[in-house]
Every structure is written in C-alpha cells, then in structure tokens.
C-alpha cells in the first residue's frame, strides 16, 4: 500500500504540491490527470524518492520513503518507474538494458537475469529484439523496453509518468496495450496520463490535479460522467 499524507513540495518559490493525500491499495490502478504544471509528475518522482519533499509523508508498505534511515536503493526495487522520456541506455543492447539492474542491484547471475529479461521482453512484444541496440528501435519499442526493464526487478508497484506523451501518435496504442495488460494482471499502478480513454478503461480511480492540489478523485464513470469540481469540468470540457 502506498500512503501519501499531506505532501508539500516546492521548487524555489513555486509550490508544486500543496498538501496531497492519496492512498493506493495493492492491485489498484489509479490514474492521475490534469493540466501541465499541476504537480502530477512531481508526485511520482517523490513517491520513489527521486525528489525530496518539504513536509508530509509518503510510506510504501509501512516504510517511510523520505526518512533518513530508509535505504532508497532498496526501496526502489519495489517501485518501478517509467518516464515520458524512456531513457534507454544507448550503449547497451536491449537485453543488457534489462539485465543491468537485476545483476547489479539484486546480484543475479547472468543466465538467471537473462532468462527473466527475455520473459519480460517477450511479454512486451520485444522477444525478437534482444541483441538490438536502442538506437535501432522506434520510440514505442524503446518505451516498451523501458517498461520491461522496470518489470525485470519484479516490483510490487509501477509508476508511469506520461509514458505516451513523447511518442508519435501511431505508436501510442502499442504502449497503452502493454499498460492495459499489466493492469489486467493485477499490477498496482499509478499512471500520470493525458490519455483519457485509457484512464477511463483501465483505472479503478481517477484523480484530477489542479495547481498542486488534488481537486477531485473518484471512479472513472463518476469523474468523467459527473465531475463535481468546476476545474475538473473545465478541464474535461477542453480535452474532449
């Protein structure tokens, strides 16, 4: 379970998170929507400790992320994150991209790590690209590789930060299909997205962020069908 309690975060004078409360249960898929600058991506990087927070607390299965005593490298094994820019490691083959962390972080033997990597890469449809370098892959393929790379650590939670925003429109579908498949398999996921159709189909709850505040959260039918907050109404009217 991920518990976010009254989290505040500023970059300089700009307060990007103004007291966020959110609890995500195991097996739940929560999507976060909202305009740019609403703080939704920052929240994800705070959840896995890539960004410090100013106040409040975030706990993952009872471990406080930002406590000094917390070993973040260890905690991050539990929480996979995939970014808008997929960040493929260009000097490594697809297989090496995926086996790097299992080998170096979990201390897995090469053969074992490769078996897991191959399974995950087949899972995301890249079984025939194992020895390819990322530069030979399309954006959608690189993004799916990044997903496989995160999955190879067998995380309990996955965070997706606008993973389709940097893709050509015709490549968005293949990545969303991969996310849907994960959701159906019961992965706990927090997805920041601009894909409203995806949010509606896949999530159990949808949260709407506006200027650092979680203005509204609810089941997709309720939030999309009968939004309560005026900002949610405005936002949804514009994206439709």
């Amino acid at each position: 379970m991920i518990e976010i309690q009254n989290v505040r975060k500023s970059f300089g004078d700009l307060e990007v998170l103004k007291g966020i409360d959110l609890t995500v249960q195991r097996g739940e898929v929560v999507t976060v929507i909202g305009g740019s600058g609403s703080g939704k991506s920052t929240l994800l990087t705070c959840i896995n400790g890539l960004e410090p927070i100013d106040s409040g607390r975030i706990t993952i299965d009872g471990t406080e992320v930002h406590a000094k005593s917390t070993n973040l490298n260890k905690l991050r094994r539990k929480v996979g994150i995939v970014f808008q820019q997929w960040n493929a490691f260009p000097h490594l083959t697809v297989m090496e991209n995926v086996t790097l962390a299992p080998r170096k972080v979990l201390g897995m033997a090469k053969a074992e790590a490769e078996a897991i990597a191959e399974k995950q890469l087949r899972h995301v449809g890249l079984g025939d690209k194992l020895t390819t370098y990322p530069s030979r892959l399309s954006g959608g393929q690189q993004q799916r590789m990044a997903i496989a790379r995160a999955l190879a650590m067998s995380p309990d939670y996955m965070l997706f930060d606008e993973v389709t925003s940097a893709l050509d429109p015709q490549l968005v579908g293949e990545v969303l299909e991969t996310l849907k498949m994960l959701a159906e398999e019961g992965m706990t996921m927090i997805c920041v997205t601009h894909e409203m159709g995806f949010a509606r189909d896949v999530s159990k709850r949808v949260a709407f962020f506006h200027q650092g505040i979680m203005a509204e959260i609810g089941a997709p039918d309720q939030l999309f069908g009968d939004p309560q907050h005026p900002e949610t109404q405005k936002f949804l009217a514009n994206v439709r």
Partner: protein
C-alpha cells in the same frame, strides 16, 4: 614561375635526393645507419606514452568522480589538478616531477619523472574532456539508473562512464598523440633512452644534426599518424551502437 621552381628543385635534388644545400653536405647514410638505435628509442617513447595514457585515464576517471562527488575538498583537489595541468607548460610539470621534488629529497629516475609529468598532464586534460562529454549525456540517464535501484556509483560506473568514454574517445587519441610528442621534453631531465634522447646523443656523437633530427621527426610523424588511424579503427569496432 612554376618553371623556376622546377629548376630550383632540380638543383637541390639532382637525383631525387637531397645531397647538398647552402654549405651543408647531407650524409643521410650516417643517419640511416643509426636507425635501429632510433627505433629502439621509439619503442621507449611509445612505452612511456602508453603507460602515461593508461594511468592518465584512470586518474582522470578518479578526478571526474571527485568533481561530481559534491565534497568540497575533493572538488577543490580535482580542480586544482586540472588548472595546473592545463595552464602551465608541460615542461614545467616534468621539471617539477624531477628537479622540483628532488629539492625535498625525493629522487626519481628520468624515466619515472617523465612518466609522472606526462601522466599528470594527461590526467588534467582528459578530466576536462570528460567534463565536456558528461554535459552531452542527459541527466535523465543517471536518474533512470537510480530509479532502478542502482547506487550513484553504480549508475556512474555502468551507465554514465561508458557513454562518457565513448564520447571522449577521439579527443583521447589526440591526447595520446600529445603524450608521444611530450616525451621529447624528457631530454631536459636527462632522459636519453627515448627517441628524442637517443637522437640527441647520436647528434653529439656524429654531428649529423639535420639528418638525425629530420629522421626523428619522420618517426614521430609516422607514430602519431598510426595512432590516429588506429584510434579510428578501434572506435569503429568498439562503438557499434
């Protein structure tokens, strides 16, 4: 005009070979007889350059890590090194490694002093090359590594450093060329087994100054050309991505 140049060239090179110019009679054979000794010297030159490059790269990686460490004393140490290496003559650096430290009772052989001096210089320049290369690698690379649970050092070792070395590979071959040429400064600290030192000694013995140093120049040229060419071949094989 062209005809005059041709005629002049014909006077200078009657059989396609320089034999006499001004009042100097060329005796190429004397110099060529010494070629084996000079090639032995060239081996020593290459040995120093290769050693100083290997050590220089290791030190430069260390200095780069220091610069990234965030620790003020380490950053100051690395910056001081780079500043001195890049802003003082290589001759000064080699002098200090020999006569400078001798003032404190530390005595190195000319070979060791020359090696230390060139290594110091290489490390400084390479660190600066690495800094440029690091700028070309997006921050998000390290971040992606950290998000997978790698420690900062692991992310540097496995993600940042390989890319950094690739980007700075061609500048590194330049530095290798530099290292070869810098060995010639060894004569100032009494080095006489490298190419330049050998040539200097042979000159004192035979007074065939022009021929010997011209020959040394050709050997230097061929070595550095071979390095540049070899570097390109290695780069093409090593970095296929």
């Amino acid at each position: 005009m062209a005809a005059r140049i041709t005629r002049a060239a014909f006077l200078l090179f009657p059989k396609g070979r320089i034999t006499q110019m001004f009042d100097y009679t060329f005796q190429w054979k004397q110099a060529l007889n010494r070629l084996p000794q000079m090639l032995d010297g060239a081996m020593v030159t290459m040995e120093i350059a290769i050693l100083s490059m290997g050590l220089g790269i290791l030190l430069a990686i260390l200095l780069t890590v220091m610069r990234l460490s965030g620790s003020r004393p380490l950053m100051a140490f690395a910056t001081t090194w780079v500043e001195i290496a890049r802003n003082t003559p290589a001759l000064f650096q080699i002098y200090m490694a020999h006569f400078g430290v001798a003032s404190f009772g530390i005595h190195f052989s000319p070979f060791v002093s020359l090696l230390i001096g060139i290594t110091f210089n290489n490390a400084g320049y390479l660190t600066e090359n690495f800094r440029g290369a690091l700028k070309a690698i997006p921050d998000t690379q390290g971040r992606a590594g950290r998000s997978l649970g790698l420690t900062q050092l692991q992310a540097f070792r496995h993600i940042i450093m390989p890319q950094m070395l690739r980007i700075s590979f061609l500048p590194m071959t330049n530095q290798m060329v530099w290292a070869i040429l810098m060995t010639s400064l060894g004569v100032t600290v009494g080095m006489n087994s490298d190419l330049y030192g050998v040539t200097q000694d042979l000159n004192a013995l035979t007074f065939r100054t022009f021929e010997l140093f011209a020959l040394a120049g050709v050997i230097f040229y061929l070595i550095t050309k071979a390095i540049t060419f070899g570097g390109r071949l290695i780069a093409a094989r090593l970095f296929r991505y």
